[in-house]
């Protein structure tokens, strides 16, 4: 028997065409977002009323909006806001949700389990958008000062959207932990003197995380939509900072009058990103399991 190391993560990712498509979409989005300051783009905030509502041309590849700002430049700069808020919100939700979910699963049968799972239930029962709109309405869209720290709108959005992802990701890891905590390998580790923290975060976490990562990548798409929705109703990223949601909101007055590019391109950017993350999420499920490469490594 010739045991070879399981193919690397990237090596296995290569065998999934849909994963490559997803990775290409997300990768180019991220790279454009990071490189936005040095790309040869026009100033996304520069108003030029003589150039307003210009259709796509060589000068303005994706046209201009109602204030004469370059659409391509605004979409690229807008991806920074959208992606950072989406990724931040999902990371925040995963960090909280997975930690609490694993603890609840490990402490199966205790009061802590009941407290955590009931908290999840309460959060889960409030519709995401309603909660987000209500809380943003209360907190306001300007910077809030909490104990000397100025909390900007982006951080508020990250915490708010992240909080609403917490119960779903928490329940997912809770369910995995409930199964894994009864497994033989956890018992064996416990018999060799592993404590609760090691069992929960070293042994159970790697087995619970694949399903969480799949769900989290899907949630990034949801987060982009929620952030866009909030920006669309004016409770998210504030003008003139470009974000895909505010751009869509601005464009709605011009859809009927024929200036289709103002609404179409930000909408297309949202769609492409969400689809990209969904494709990637599907593939992650298969790729993240170290057993997945087992058969080919024996042949």
């Amino acid at each position: 028997m010739n045991v070879t190391a399981a193919p690397s993560f990237l090596g296995r990712l290569r065998t999934y065409p849909s994963g490559i498509v997803g990775a290409l979409i997300i990768g180019s989005m991220v790279i454009c977002g990071i490189l936005a300051p040095i790309l040869p783009l026009k100033n996304p905030l520069a108003l030029d009323l003589s150039q307003r509502l210009m259709p796509p041309s060589f000068e303005h590849l994706l046209g201009t909006d109602q204030a004469g700002r370059d659409m391509l430049s605004r979409i690229v700069w807008g991806s920074r806001e959208s992606l950072v808020i989406a990724a931040g919100a999902v990371s925040f939700g995963a960090l909280f949700g997975v930690t609490l979910g694993l603890l609840a699963g490990y402490m199966n049968g205790t009061v802590l389990e009941i407290v955590i799972t009931r908290c999840f239930d309460v959060l889960f029962s409030i519709p995401l958008l309603v909660l987000a709109i209500a809380l943003m309405g209360i907190l306001g869209t300007g910077p809030t000062v909490v104990g000397g720290f100025i909390i900007g709108i982006e951080v508020k959005l990250i915490i708010l959207i992240g909080l609403s992802f917490t119960p779903a990701l928490g329940r997912l890891s809770y369910a995995s932990a409930l199964v894994e905590v009864k497994s033989d390998y956890v018992r064996a580790k416990r018999a060799q003197g592993a404590g609760w923290a090691e069992l929960t975060f070293v042994e159970i976490l790697p087995n619970a995380i694949p399903s969480v990562i799949v769900q989290a990548t899907l949630f990034i798409g949801v987060a982009i939509i929620v952030e866009s929705s909030l920006s669309f109703v004016g409770l998210g990223v504030q003008p003139p900072t470009p974000s895909w949601g505010t751009m869509l909101a601005d464009a709605r007055g011009y859809i009927a009058s024929g200036e289709w590019w103002i609404a179409a391109f930000p909408g297309f950017a949202i769609c492409a990103t969400v689809i990209g993350f969904n494709l990637l999420g599907d593939v992650f499920r298969d790729v993240l399991d170290p057993r997945a490469g087992a058969i080919s490594s024996f042949v």
Partner: protein
């Protein structure tokens, strides 16, 4: 010969957390394990042997507890220890090897991760030497090319190799007592033999072993002392030689007769008629009485005391089989 005592169970009963000792699943088990002694525990499924083993390390399921009796490990009373205190004992004084090696390794972590965890936790080993020690630990249980195996995942190893890895993990922290709960049951026969050889090697290192098995022959061949359990009760305890030659409990005898011999004439396999008791804890008498050919009236109402018939031989039976001492 009375070796220094490492572990002693005195009238230990195990039962549900909610009820008293009368409804215990394991009742009044007395057992000692000396330093370097190999004790075999034999019994059918549900005889309480695994629960007894779990209780020794404080590993009982949350719904069960030790309802009465005392448990003394290395001169320390451990009956009432908290989870935190047991945590210090496990992996240092006591180590376990379980039945099913296929599921006892974390599928997402490499063999090296598993071993280095154990070494670091108990040995204060720095990272570089931990890796070296992990290689040595794998080599000592007979795994070829141990350096390469460190980066293998459990699914890349065969069942026998996984059990070797688990044994290496159990031994890595140099425990005083190794509890092996049917370590060979899930393996095929040829692999079983090599694992048993491995256990013979462990014996040489002066580590006490509690070896739980269905396989009476294996236990008789390998262990110093044999404990026979049935229905949550300890039936007979004796040296392996005494069990094989002069066992006195009808249940032990019946078990021995069930083992087919190559020298037997071809015929039907011997079985013990009847079923083991299902509802444990409700039987005041001997749990084996219903299936016993030697049963008397008193057997069904009162469980007999454990009576010593020699220095190393104790039987709990009202009507033990009388053995004519053979000249040896």
């Amino acid at each position: 010969m009375s070796p220094e005592i490492l572990l002693s169970l005195q009238n230990v009963s195990i039962g549900p957390r909610t009820t008293d000792a009368l409804h215990s699943i394991v009742r009044e088990v007395n057992m000692t394990i000396g330093k370097g002694e190999v004790v075999g525990v034999v019994g059918e499924s549900g005889s309480g042997k695994s629960l007894t083993a779990l209780a020794i390390g404080g590993m009982l399921p949350a719904s069960l507890k030790i309802t009465s009796g005392n448990m003394i490990l290395c001169d320390v009373e451990t009956t009432e220890l908290s989870e935190v205190d047991f945590h210090k004992i496990r992996g240092r004084d006591i180590s376990y090897v379980f039945q099913d090696p296929l599921n006892a390794l974390n599928p997402t972590r490499t063999i090296g991760d598993h071993l280095i965890d154990v070494l670091k936790r108990r040995g204060n080993v720095p990272s570089q030497t931990a890796r070296q020690k992990a290689v040595e630990a794998l080599r000592s249980v007979g795994i070829s090319r141990p350096e390469d195996r460190l980066s293998s995942y459990p699914h890349q190893l065969s069942g026998g190799m996984r059990q070797r890895v688990l044994i290496a993990m159990a031994l890595a922290c140099r425990p005083k007592l190794l509890i092996a709960d049917e370590p060979t049951t899930a393996l095929d026969v040829t692999v079983q033999a090599t694992i048993i050889d491995l256990f013979r090697g462990i014996r040489e290192q002066n580590i006490s072993i509690m070896f739980i098995s269905h396989n009476l022959d294996l236990v008789l061949e390998f262990c110093d002392t044999v404990v026979v359990m049935y229905g949550g009760r300890l039936m007979e305890r004796a040296s392996a030689r005494e069990i094989s030659q002069t066992s006195r409990h009808p249940y032990t005898r019946a078990l021995m007769e069930c083992v087919p011999r190559l020298t037997d004439a071809v015929g039907e396999l011997q079985v013990i008629p009847g079923q083991p008791p299902l509802a444990l804890g409700n039987i005041d008498g001997c749990p084996f009485a219903e299936r016993c050919t030697h049963a008397m009236d008193i057997c069904r109402s009162v469980f007999p005391e454990l009576v010593a018939s020699s220095l190393t031989h104790q039987v709990a039976c009202w009507n033990p089989i009388v053995v004519k001492e053979r000249a040896t």
